[in-house]
Symmetry: C3
Subunit: 339 residues, 3 copies
């Protein structure tokens, strides 16, 4: 299925300088350690430089600096990692399917579906939904009433998109993701128990957003939950009702925003970072794994909490129990220090 390409056309596409034979055929990508005949590799992380000279790769993407002492075939680019990312699409074996609507799909008569789309078996598109040009909706996915999906988007198998959700162009939504389920809105009743707050807002998602497997983005209580352009969400992410994710922010697996939390643009949330409700994180903030963001962050930079040192369990127990005594310890230290 996969095509092969000449080094010359690859170098031209990447805007890199080819040092080697432009006619050499490249059939795949691989790491320096594993690459073999016909495979292109790259050196992005300095710690892998030790694998460069022994690599059997047909050619390597290098910076001008690393290329200096390299005797093999290479393409010199400014950023080898970015160049590898750019060329990766050429070697993606997951071919887009031919356009067409499978006979078992249920498309409501009042839905608007472009001609050049792939709609797989058992896909359901409800009334007033809009599926734009170039979209691929994989098998058993669901698009609720009044929702729209922008051009050239991919919706994986078993994805659920509720009603009145607006998704921009170029989206990639992976299997098991849920967009537009009710936010967790409940009000305590005087006699005990909870009164459901109907979630009458929607979800607005910008262009070029990727949504990972089993990730959920809830609809807003009154206004929309908002995800900006270029946002990248990993698997098992939770975006609660009325949360806001700024443009180009990336959130790794298990990271979540509680209700009405706002995260700015160009932020990076590592795995399992949770942001509590109704606080704001400004632009250009990085947050390390497993941090609980309990208050607003107003200055760009890197922030942390929570992740304590790894150690043998017995040692951890001895130290952990002291955390419960910490206030007393601190008071004693203060007292001793004063004396």
């Amino acid at each position: 299925m996969s095509r092969d390409y000449s080094l010359g056309e690859i170098a031209a596409y990447l805007g890199g300088e080819l040092r080697g034979d432009a006619e050499t055929r490249i059939i795949g990508l691989n790491t320096l350690q594993s690459a073999g005949e016909g495979q292109l590799s790259f050196l992005a992380n300095p710690k892998y430089v030790k694998y460069l000279s022994g690599s059997l790769a047909e050619a390597v993407l290098l910076t001008a600096d690393t290329a200096k002492t390299f005797k093999g075939c290479c393409i010199v680019v400014r950023d080898p990692y970015l160049a590898y990312a750019q060329i990766s699409a050429w070697f993606d074996a997951s071919q887009k399917k031919s356009f067409g609507i499978h006979a078992t799909a249920s498309i409501h008569a009042a839905a608007t579906v472009a001609d050049d789309v792939y709609i797989g078996p058992n896909v359901v598109v409800e009334a007033d939904a809009n599926i734009d040009s170039g979209c691929h909706l994989e098998a058993n996915s669901f698009v609720g009433a009044g929702s729209s999906i922008g051009a050239n988007s991919f919706v994986g198998a078993n994805v659920s998109i509720y009603h009145d959700v607006e998704i921009g162009s170029g989206a990639i939504i992976h299997s098991g993701a849920v967009v537009g389920a009710d936010g967790f809105g409940i009000a305590p009743k005087p006699d005990g128990g909870w009164q459901k707050i109907h979630q009458i807002g929607g979800v607005t998602i910008g262009d070029n957003v990727e949504i990972g497997a089993c990730t959920s983005i809830d609809r807003g209580a009154l206004q929309d939950t908002r995800v900006g352009n270029g946002v990248k969400l990993d698997n098992h992410v939770q975006i609660a009702h009325n949360a806001v994710v700024g443009d180009n922010t990336a959130m790794a697996a298990y990271s979540g925003l509680a209700g009405s939390a706002e995260v700015g643009s160009n932020c990076i949330l590592a795995g399992d970072v949770c942001v509590v409700g109704h606080i704001k994180v400004c632009d250009n903030v990085q947050i390390t794994a497993r941090t609980l963001v309990t208050k607003s962050i107003t200055e760009p930079g890197s922030y942390s909490s929570g992740a304590t040192p790894l150690m043998p369990t017995a040692e951890w127990r001895r130290n952990s129990v002291r955390i419960g005594q910490l206030d007393k310890i601190a008071r004693t230290v203060n007292k001793l220090n004063k004396e």
Copy 2:
């Protein structure tokens, strides 16, 4: 699609005192800051009182106290947040579908399905399952053999309900949720590896339970996993085999109960709270975000662990490393204090 209502009928429904024109038409709900013509708002959180006087809302739900100085149109109620929750259903644009069974649904001949239900495309209902009056089963959902779903329940698209699961009336089960998958039961084999323990219990869920997107409730090993009446589960919640959730308890996103853990009634578990296996939490307990409940709780109240202060990463590293020295520090402090 959405209807409009008179202020008079809204006030009557809420049992509130209307101060304004009963004939005024209300077409929607919104926040104080965003509400405009024809929209009803509410003041629940004192920190938003600053937005009251400038609000363009057609009318506002207020307490007698906040209404005193308010010159606009309002409905005086005991609890404006509850009143907003109660009236929210009137403005929910996600119309229930007309009753009927889609031609592509697969309903087993030995299943019992009430006449007045909506069953969407590709829904599968297996043998001996029972779907009660007023239920809505959205597209591509699955109900396994012998399971029953009580009256007026909503089952979202791509929900999976395994065999022999009993769900009460008024349930709301969001897309991607899984009820009745096998509990994580494995026994170590003498020669290494694991012997699966078949999970032969079921799941029993009470009335008026909401289950969030991508939430899982496992079936019991021998007896049933049990979820009480009025329980509200957010997204990505995990209820392991034989866990018990008491009536009206609410669990926010990522909170989970390990096997055979029991949480009482009227508890609130904030986000990412995990309760380890085989322990009990009594009624009326609140647990703050990201707490790991490692031992039983026998007294009502608020409990915590885990969430440490947020700070710049460099500062966190300096402090975090000290946690690994904490036992030694504490011993030194004790020694110095004795001296």
Copy 3:
């Protein structure tokens, strides 16, 4: 539906010594406290020995030691918990369905499907996929192009398996699980935003692997993500691209491996354990709940971090704030200690 068995045949299957009437009929399994007529129970945990003498179980699985003083009917086995696990399959009411392919299933003409399989309603099997003998694919599940599923595997309703995923024999994959979605691969662009790295590796999963509900295993960036034989994954687990899980390792709910993390064989990760990217955990390691594994582990044993003592919230706040002062406290202690 469920069959009944004689104590004699059960004892023979387990290789145990029967003390009682071999003709006694057993219709089910239950705990010591709840078992009644016709039910078999077991004593595995010494803390339940108090329930033994009063149990109404028809027979009990016991060790030679606990059997000494027991007057009732019992089967003496080396490991009662393992014996219970082994016999549990006999009492599993979730009958495997008869072989056959439902009329609504969409099986691509270029897929290879064994004759003796069950393929439920709306199941989709794409081109060049291979479904081996004895497999059960439940309703609305999806198997992408070129993927293969080994003999006697169970694929739950609404499971999504992407293209080019290889799964061994005897797999159990629960509803909502996603195998082969794109890894979270993005490269920063010089002008801001992210360049997607197409994930051109696959997923290789060994034999006898169980994958829990809502669990995701991403495909590799260049090479395959690998899950060994006998691996057991609970619900909401995340295996990121190019991670490696060694044979017979078990991971409880919410535990996750970041990209290229490697965990050895026979490890046990408790709930919510996360392993950061590009590190290695050796064989025979146990990691306690909620630990963040931030560095490689090279010696077998038990490791921990993170889970601090549970306490009333007010007390926690007093202690927690001191964590932010810990470096200062430690310096003061050191100074005082030197003086």
